[in-house]
């Protein structure tokens, strides 16, 4: 399943956030199962896209890989070395190799620092030798900003320009891996395209490795070589970007048809999933997707009935070859029957009630 020599890999990566009650006598009453048993591998110079809705655990996964938060279980391997538990000087070295770009460029930049200070900060913190001013100017130029603008503060830039500053800062230490968490979600369409092209050009020029996290399948498919689809903390499907359009997991199928296509393109029939993604505090038994799954209803032939195995056993992520894997007891062969099954589910009041918490 793993490539011969991935730059970065995760094994059984898991994160549970405790849920506490009370202030003075706080006690743990449960856990948010944010990420459960995630296995990933990305080769050098490639891009992995992680797609999922809010609460799917995609950002938490990215943050664990960047060592911004510590996993509850599992490991993150950088060129085969476990980086999950390194600290002190070793961690400082690690920080130079993995950088992160955030969704909200305004929140991620210190409003009291100039662009020069922001982009130069990693060089200062890590005592990088050389003329810092020259290096900062070169970085700004690389991301398409004139070095003359270096004395300005974040509020003097447009949203797209701020995201360029965030990218320049991530590039400063010449990292091996950049984790990009929703890098263009906060930007207008025409600005998005500039940033997407910039990311592609930078990768080509420096052979960098990306992990791109987004809710937008269009963005993911544009940037990524491989796509991982997450639902409620687990990877439900992995596929080369070119073949995700023929999904094996019913959730991927629904996501593909729900994502608005390019205007003017023929409209596919949408698989309208009933309800909302369930709470990760009390994930459903068995396959977490079963309460909303149209495929389970196709099998049972009844919108109110789910096959027992889907309700009791969580399906493992099975390797199907050709870089594809899926976690489903009965992978999708055709999406045609899913549209009708989803409609029948939405019309069945019990299901609508059970899935809308």
């Amino acid at each position: 399943m793993t490539d011969p020599a991935p730059l970065i890999a995760t094994e059984g990566l898991t994160k549970r956030f405790p849920v506490t009650r009370g202030i003075l006598f706080a006690h743990t009453v449960g856990a948010v199962h944010a990420v459960e048993d995630v296995h990933l591998a990305v080769r050098r110079g490639r891009t992995l896209g992680i797609v999922g809705e809010s609460g799917s655990g995609k950002s938490t996964t990215g943050r664990m890989i960047a060592r911004l938060i510590d996993p509850t279980a599992g490991t993150v391997l950088l060129e085969g070395t476990d980086i999950t538990r390194v600290g002190g000087a070793e961690l400082r070295v690690l920080r130079r190799r993995i950088q992160m770009v955030f969704q909200d460029p305004t929140g991620a930049l210190n409003p009291r620092h100039t662009a020069n200070q922001i982009v130069g900060a990693p060089l200062r913190v890590h005592h990088v030798a050389g003329n810092r001013a020259v290096r900062v100017a070169a970085l700004l130029e690389q991301v398409g900003l004139s070095p003359d603008l270096g004395d300005r503060y974040p509020h003097e830039f447009s949203g797209g320009q701020r995201q360029r500053i965030g990218i320049a800062r991530a590039l400063a230490l010449e990292p091996d891996l950049i984790v990009l968490d929703e890098p263009v979600s906060a930007l207008d369409v025409s600005v998005q395209a500039h940033i997407l092209n910039l990311l592609t050009d930078l990768q080509r020029a420096h052979g960098m490795t990306y992990i791109v996290i987004s809710h937008d399948l269009g963005v993911i498919r544009h940037l990524a070589d491989e796509v991982a689809v997450m639902y409620l903390g687990r990877i439900v499907e992995r596929a080369p970007a070119a073949s995700i359009a023929a999904p094996f997991h019913p959730y991927t199928a629904a996501l593909l048809t729900a994502a608005p296509g390019r205007p003017g393109a023929a409209h596919r029939r949408r698989i309208l999933l009933p309800g909302d993604p369930p709470s990760p505090i009390t994930p459903p038994s068995g396959c977490a997707f079963h309460p909303r799954c149209p495929k389970a209803r196709v099998i049972s032939g009844d919108p109110n009935v789910v096959p027992e195995r889907c309700r009791t056993d969580a399906p493992p992520l099975d390797n199907l070859g050709r870089g594809r894997s899926v976690a489903c007891w009965s992978p999708v062969a055709t999406t045609d029957d899913l549209v009708g099954a989803a409609e029948a589910m939405s019309a069945a009041p019990d299901i609508a009630r059970a899935t809308s918490d």
Binding site: V189, A259, P260, P274, D276, P277
Partner: protein
Amino acid sequence: MSDVLLEIENLHVTFASPHGPIRAVDGLSLRAERGATLGVVGESGSGKSVTFLAAMRLLDPATATVSGRIRLDGVDLLTLPSREMQTVRGPRIGMIFQDPLAALHPLLRVGDQISETLRAHGDISRRDASDRAVAALRRVGIPSPDERARQYPHELSGGMRQRVMIAMALVLEPELLIADEPTTALDTTVEAQILALIDDLRTRIGLGVVLISHSLATVSQVADTVAVMYAGRAIERGPCSDVFGQPQHPYTWGLLDSLPAVDGGHESLTPIPGAPPSLADLPPGCRFGPRCGYRMPACGERVPDLVERHAGHADACILPMDGREGLRRAPIAHPANSEPAP
């Protein structure tokens, strides 16, 4: 046989600012029809939200100057006394916004918030109002509406909250629903549900809908007609399939070419060079001129009017009609391929 419900004619909205007047809407004309969805697309600052805030008379007269006509069924809303405006806002035009959590009162049960709307607009008993609130929740597809009515906004998911907003906007049975970015804060699968709901209500009760969105893809899914806005003006408008199928304005081309396709590959995107102009300092002539790859000297002379070229399909561009399609694929020259300093 068009059945015009809302007609906006030569609308201007200007805000006072220390940097001089900001022309947020500058000569806009649009119409929304009964039982149809008008999609209004544009990037931030294009004036799409301000236009409909002006239509609802929700702009502060102390800072915003509004001129032009906004007619609902022939009656000009801009000259209506504010008392009468209260019988329009709610009973005749409902409005929903992007963030339902900010639009709902956090300390009131959602059912009470809906019945409050009913009681503010009519002589109705507490009990009847709460029954109608539950019915309104049922109509927007909320399961167990009587239980949900007793819950607080924080107990509901984002999709449920947006359904509550729609129920509240529709409880007075308005003819027009203005939905300002109703799905932007929602997850993809939930967005699809909400769009399907709005579309279903439109066909079932003949509601006129104005869908304001930055997302061309969202608008293209449900709109009958589309208006593309840029720097306070509509630069293209027409039937949805025409505007997205045979777009005529270079800005619309640019928007469409900027989109990564869900079913596309890694090919490089063609972004629009430059950034939108400052509304306090608009360029002479065509507002899009400085960023346009097809700019001619005449473009800087006067603001081009929106001219209807084919049945219902209008654009505000002075390029000759012959061979526009060919031009789209071969821009003459891009002035600069990055955003200039503000």
